[in-house]
Each structure stands twice: as C-alpha cells, then as structure tokens.
Symmetry: C2
Subunit: 369 residues, 2 copies
C-alpha cells in the first residue's frame, strides 16, 4: 500500500504563484502594474523578460552585475536604472531630484558596489516652472555630493502641456564592485537572520499625506537617503567577524515595502522567512497615519532603508556596527530564514498567532517614487 | 596712430551667442527647450550644467567617456542616456522601441565605443494596450539583436490616465572603447572634410506625416538604424590609410538635424564649417513633404545618419568604404572646415550665394524622438 501524497494548502499556493509567473494575460496596463507588487512581477516576468531575456536580465535583481576586462584587469561593474514619477514632486524631507539620485545610488549599493556615475534623463511638461527645476537640480547636486557620485551624461525632452505630469526623471547608474561579495536575492539560507536598518514606512506615508487628500498634519518626513556607506561598513564588519560572504542578500524595500521585498527573497531563495511583528520598528505617527489612510506599514515604500539576510554568526555584530551609522541608527533583527514552507513570508503577530504576509496585490500606492 | 578695431557683424553674432550661453532667464519650460536647438542648449549650459557641473558632464558630448582600472587594465567606457517621447509611438519604418535602442546605441557608437549593455526604463500610462507594449518589446529585441547589445536592467512605472502620453522609454547605455580614438566635437580642424553618411530628413518627415495633420501619402520611412558597425569600419579604414586619429569628430544629427549638429561642432571647435547645398542628399519626396510642412530638411531629425569630420587625406577612402556598408550607401562629402568666421556654419547655395545656417531656434518639431 502506498500513501497518497496530499499537498498542503500552502504548497498549493506556492505552486500556483509559480505557475502564475509564467503567464501574462492582461490586455491593458493598470496602476497595479507599477505597484511593486504581484501585478508588476507578472508584467516583468511574463512580458518584459519573455521579450528581452538574457542571463543578466533574468537574474531580476535590482541591478545587473557584469564583468569587463581580461585576465589582467577584470572589473565587476553594477548597472541599474529607475524612473521617478513621484507626486507631489516636492514633499517633506525631499523632492523628486533627491529621490532620483538616492534611489539609483541605493540600487547600486545593494550589489556591494561603490556608486561612481549617474546619467539623468528629464521629461518636462511644457509650462513647468524653472524655479521648481532649479530646486530639483539643487537637490540632485546635494544628493550626488553626499553619495560621492557625479551625473556625467544627460538628456532633456519636453512634451506638450497635458502629455506628462510636471516632471519625470530617469537616472541610470554605474558602480564598481571592488570586494568579493556574493549578494543575491536567491542566496538566503536556512538559519540566516533578517536585519532591517531602521524605521519603516516613512517615505510612502509622507507622500500620501503630502497629496493632501486627507487633512493630516504630522512631522513625518521621507527617509530618502544614500545607503552605500552603510553597506560598505557592513561588508567590512562581516569580513572582520567571519567572511564578506556571510552577508547573503541586500535589498532596499522601496515600492511594495518590506513585505514585498521579503516575498521576493523567499521565492527566489526557495525558503521561508519568519518575522516578528513586535520587532519591526514603526514610528507611532506612521502607524497612526497608516491606520487613517488604510495602509499597512509593511507594504509602504521606504527610500533609505535596507534589508540584509546574513549568516547567524555575524548578525549581532552587524546590527551593532550599523547602529553607529546615521542611516542604520535603528537597525534591528526582525526574523530568520527557515526551510518550510518555501516561498512564504510568515509573521508572528503580537497576539502570538502567525499570519502569511503576501506580496502586495493591487494598486495600493501609485506614483510613490 | 592706431587703427581702431571694428568687429564684423559675424564676429558680433558669435560673441552674442557665446554670452547668451552663460545666462538662463526663462521662467517656464517651453517646447523649444526640447527642440535640440538654441533654447535647449541654453537650458543645458545655463542651468543643468550650472547645477551639476563636473569635468565629464562639461564636455557636453552625446556620451560621457571615463576610465576605470589601474595600470594593469585601464578600460575606457562610454555612458549615455536618452528618453524617448516620440508621437505617434508607431510609424513607418519603426516605433518608439526601435528608436530607444538605436538612439542609445548610436550615441555610444559616436564615441568609437562598442555598445555592450542597455538599461530600459518604461513610464506607462494607465490603460495602455498590452498589444502595443508587445510590439514595442519585439522591436527592442530585434534592434538589440541587430546591434549586438543586451538590455540587462530595467524599471517600470505606471502613471494615471492623463498623466503621461501612452509610453515614454528611457534607455541608458554602456560601451567599451577598445581603440585609441580621439573623437570630440571640439576636435574639428581647419582643412578637415565633412562627410555625411546618407540621405537626410527621413525620420523627422516620417513622424510629421504620421501625425496625420496633413493628408500626405508618401513612401518615406524613418531611417532609424544602428551605426556602430559603420563607425568601426570607418575607424579601421582610417587606421589603414593614415591613422585612427584622422577621424576627428563623429556625431549623429538627430533633434535639430544636420544644421544644429554642424553648429555645435563649429562652436565647440571654434572653426567655420562650409557646406555645399547641392551635395547634401535629400530624397525628392522628403524635399516635397518638407516644403508642404514648412520645414527645412537641414533641421529635420535623422535617426540613422552620422556626420564625420576627418583629415582631408582620409576623406575619399572613407567615403568609398562607407558606401559598402548598408547604412553608409549614400555617404558623401558635403563640405570642409575653414578658419573664419569662427563658430559659423555657412552654406553655398545652388544659386552661387552663401547663407549662414544658424542653430535651430524655436520649436519646429516637438516630440520627434
């Protein structure tokens, strides 16, 4: 007599999610396709990747890493791009220019790269005030100086009034990976610890409040910040305590928030990520605003935070070291990597229960970055 | 007795143009700021450069060239970006996807680089039909395959209906410069010859007709094409005949057309460029359409043509070699570089006269690429 295999409901969910990845049947673009969540992943994996497939794109990291050179001087370079369409373009704690520099600097930093050069492509709406453009350029200059990068090539397009909303900025970035890092969303290993670099939800909440649809007055500001120096210090610390390879994965939880980023890692590494709700630092004001706005801070975008998946033996010293960096002051361990169920993020709630934290579905926060 | 210096009217014009470069007093963005012409140069030099200034950006070439590495393996890389906002997005001879790949490939090629990798950032309008997106992606794939490049990193943003016009695409590109080229818009030298790789005005005229404002039916198609193989053959030929450094400057005359590109070179190299009207190849159909549209083909955008400024001794062999490449079939010499008046492009007309060919002023052709 053979025992019949009956898959658990969780197993079936993961399988369904996998199969879904390979199909793309929508007929129109919706706001959900830009959300950072499930619909966007389906668009990217089901369409963009189908048409433009190559081994580097296929990795689906936030940046591509390639080598250039020969036996004498091979260099590992990171290359990334992001368009910024945030509205409003100016908000507490920053503006679209600050985002455009830091966002791309951070995507480079998450590969362990030292950011070097940026490009900047502006799409401007006819009638856009030059004073606003000056403010944005001043922010970009300040952010570039802080991050130690230079904008070395650019482009300007103007479209008729009504054909774009004020200003969109694309930045692409090049960085050099000088250390023997092995960082990937597919590199999380059972037993690893999950580190978060600080308070979550500040950026997305700030933007939603700045839209003024609700008359909320708060002191919350966008957390937009460059994270490459924090990453360099983490790599240094890991190398000192154990090995640079003890850091397995780095990601900045922007669109879709911490929940979506952890889901990407869990799926990509085929592991389960267990986090503890009471360990996730959220400002009281953000919690309150999110309640009023009907948002879950776990899904709200951050622009100056990172998640690190690291070997257990380096986790404590890393958090200790991160706390000394202004952008890692509130770093903490929020969970760990387990074997089963694969591809799932599970959260132990304050009440002692466990709930599945799914990828963002739908269009919670359009034009957040 | 000293003779009083009385500057010529031309001298005064050049000086006025120079002074103008340093001031930017507009208060709003207008379509002219995206035209490729004078207003755009004032915006870039008077504002973007003022805020983001660094030696690489300052060169104001169509791509930045930087070195990476040490004594053992220094590599020269080219980096460029362009956003594409063309309307209509699909037109005879191509679509926005084909443009987005070839435009960036060509900006790399003009530095003598072998294009390697592209990034692609999409800004999509809510409601955009997936079938159109599939067509664009298929074009990008085909163009990337033809040019031997891969799109290795990307980004997708979606904005609400009415906040963008269908789709905007940004591509940034990285190429490697393997040959000891010295190419710059500031490198044109007195005695040099001016080579044009083929018929002008096809792309811009196609787009204007495709907008359907005039009921014109023609067979004209966009000339969008990758030019890196043509450039590599030109460099090879120059090295064979004299030296690779005999090619002084390469530019693709896109927005603003041949007239604007030659003006940029004349100003940057502080020389005069004299061209002959009857040598500039223009399709009869393009001439006719431009007359009806009120356009001058010299100012109309090309997306598969280049201008080369080269030492006289290599000019003939270069044209001969270019004619063997499908993208240089109609290559010809159209003029030469002289000393005075500096910063001016002069054209000998069919009637034996000479007229000044100024930079594009105003907003002749919005959203042409």
């Amino acid at each position: 007599m053979t025992e019949q295999f009956s898959p658990s409901p969780l197993f079936e969910r993961v399988e369904r999610a996998r199969r879904r990845k390979r199909k793309f049947k929508d007929t129109q673009i919706t706001l959900a396709h830009g959300s950072g969540g499930r619909a966007m992943h389906e668009l990217i994996e089901g369409l963009f990747l189908e048409y433009l497939r190559n081994p580097l794109l296929e990795a689906l990291e936030d940046q591509a890493v390639f080598e250039i050179g020969n036996g004498h001087g091979p260099f590992r370079l990171a290359f990334t791009t992001d368009s910024y369409v945030v509205t409003p373009i100016i908000f507490p704690g920053g503006d679209i220019g600050k985002l455009a520099v830091n966002g791309t600097v951070n995507d480079l930093a998450m590969s362990g790269a030292r950011p070097l050069y940026l490009s900047a492509g502006f799409i401007l709406e006819e009638g856009f005030p030059i004073d606003n453009l000056k403010r944005i350029l001043a922010s970009m200059r300040a952010a570039a100086e802080e991050a130690g990068v230079a904008v070395i090539t650019g482009d300007t397009k103007v479209v008729q009034r009504g054909s774009a909303d004020k200003v969109f900025i694309n930045t692409a970035g090049i960085g050099v990976i000088e250390l023997p890092v092995k960082l990937s969303a597919s590199n999380a290993q059972v037993g690893d610890k999950v580190i978060l670099s600080g308070l979550i939800g500040d950026h997305g909440t700030t933007i939603m409040i700045a839209r003024g649809e609700l008359e909320l007055e708060t002191e919350i500001e966008s957390d937009a910040a460059p994270l490459h120096s924090l990453v360099q210090e983490m790599l240094e610390e890991a190398a000192f305590v154990a090995s640079i390879e003890a850091i397995h994965c780095l990601r900045d939880p922007t669109r879709g928030g911490v929940a979506t980023t952890l889901n990407e890692i869990a799926l990509s590494s085929e592991v389960c990520i267990e986090i503890q709700e009471d360990r996730i630092p959220v400002r009281e004001e953000v919690k309150g605003a999110c309640e009023i706005l009907g948002l879950d801070p776990l899904y709200v975008a951050n622009e100056g935070k990172l998640i690190a998946i690291v070997s257990a033996e380096v986790a404590e010293p890393l958090v200790h070291r991160m706390k000394k960096n202004p952008y890692g002051r509130d770093a903490c361990m929020i969970g760990e990597v387990t074997a089963e169920p694969q591809g799932i993020v599970a959260m132990r709630t304050g009440f002692g229960g466990t709930r599945i934290v799914d990828m963002l579905v739908g269009e919670q926060l359009p034009r957040i970055c």
